[in-house]
């Protein structure tokens, strides 16, 4: 899906856990997620902590969308 959205001319960021698959399928802007059943959450955290973590990942995704890339890029969390 990610490649077709890109092909349609819209910048797209792929938030996913298994970044190697994302690279294989051809995403250009990739942000790593937490785990497959909860990419943007973590049941081990409190609700507030979990949301804070989700904010971080989405902020990273917005950052990726605002960044010029020339090749497939994984935007790792600091």
């Amino acid at each position: 899906m990610v490649k077709e959205i890109e092909r349609a001319g819209i910048p797209v960021v792929h938030i996913c856990t298994i970044t190697p698959i994302s690279l294989t399928v051809g995403a250009n802007r990739i942000v790593p997620a937490v785990a497959i059943p909860y990419p943007l959450g973590d049941p081990a955290l409190s609700k507030a902590e979990e949301k804070q973590q989700r904010r971080k990942i989405v902020l990273k995704a917005l950052d990726a969308l605002s960044t010029e890339v020339s090749e497939q890029t994984v935007f790792d969390m600091e």
């Binding site: 077709e4 856990t17 250009n28 059943p37 917005l62 969308l65």
Partner: protein
Amino acid sequence: MSEFRVVHYINQFFGQVGGEEMAHVPPEYREGKVGPGLALEANFKGEAVIVGTVVCGDSYFNENMDEAKETILAMVEKAKPDLFVAGPAFNAGRYGVACGAMAAYVKEKLGIPVITGMYIENPGADMYKTDIYIISTRNSAAGMRDAAKKMAALALKMLKNEKIGASSEEDYIPQGRRVNLFEKLRGSERAVNMLLQKLQGKPFTTEYPMPDFDRVPPNPPVADISRAKIALVTSGGIVPKGNPDHIESSNASKYGRYDIHGVMNLTSDTYETAHGGYDPSYANADADRVVPLDVLRDFETEGKVGSIYEYFFSTVGNGMAVKSAKAFAEDFSKELIKENVQAVILTST
């Protein structure tokens, strides 16, 4: 039962007109079998007969392709065949292209089964393998006996409407469509045999060659994300509770488009996942863990993003055919373009 009628296409060389110096000759129709037609007909074992043969120069065909195709089609049609066979062309490039082009054209126009044969590196193979059955042959006419036998066998199957097996069973060039078959040995034994071949440096054939993945160049970044309209898409199967569109838990045949106008977050009362490939309990408890609508609403209020597009798109990535994924995205991207969406956040599980 009467015999099936077959028309055969061959080039000037196999038609015994001459070699390269006669490659310019236009198509001619002869009654009955000629040259390689003898071997083919012998392998039909009385079930089919070659009623006519078209002989055409390779240069003529390739240099006048549109005209040649029409002329030959008329000749073929007149003979009222049940099947059209071309070649085999082995590694002869122009002959291979002619066989492929003509067979594909007859199939398209007359709707009868067609077959040809050529060497896998013949340019005609790559051009026509997805349209027609091309028996994989050796690279020279020394492989005629074998080619004729396999072409005739598959031709008879097509004539009798029998199930066509996988490429490895019928020896045709793979068509880019995976076909299931039952092997004689179970998978584990095939694996052990393959490993032994590999260890001994002997040839082995993988059952699935690795694909080439194509790439799309990245789009320029969003100039000002704080004013951009952003759409949410997920392959994590998040749907309104009860899965109103009945999106399948694996190899989904559709995607959903869900109104999130005024929705501030995705709760366990209102949303769930239809995905069958991961433990659903976490997403069912809080679907924001897959589609982060709650924080994006906050960002909207905080002015970090312009706005959130009022529909999100969702499907189940589990076991999904790449083709379906591609078709879905092509489809909803049109809407996104039309609605001036400037960026997409796609989440996967």
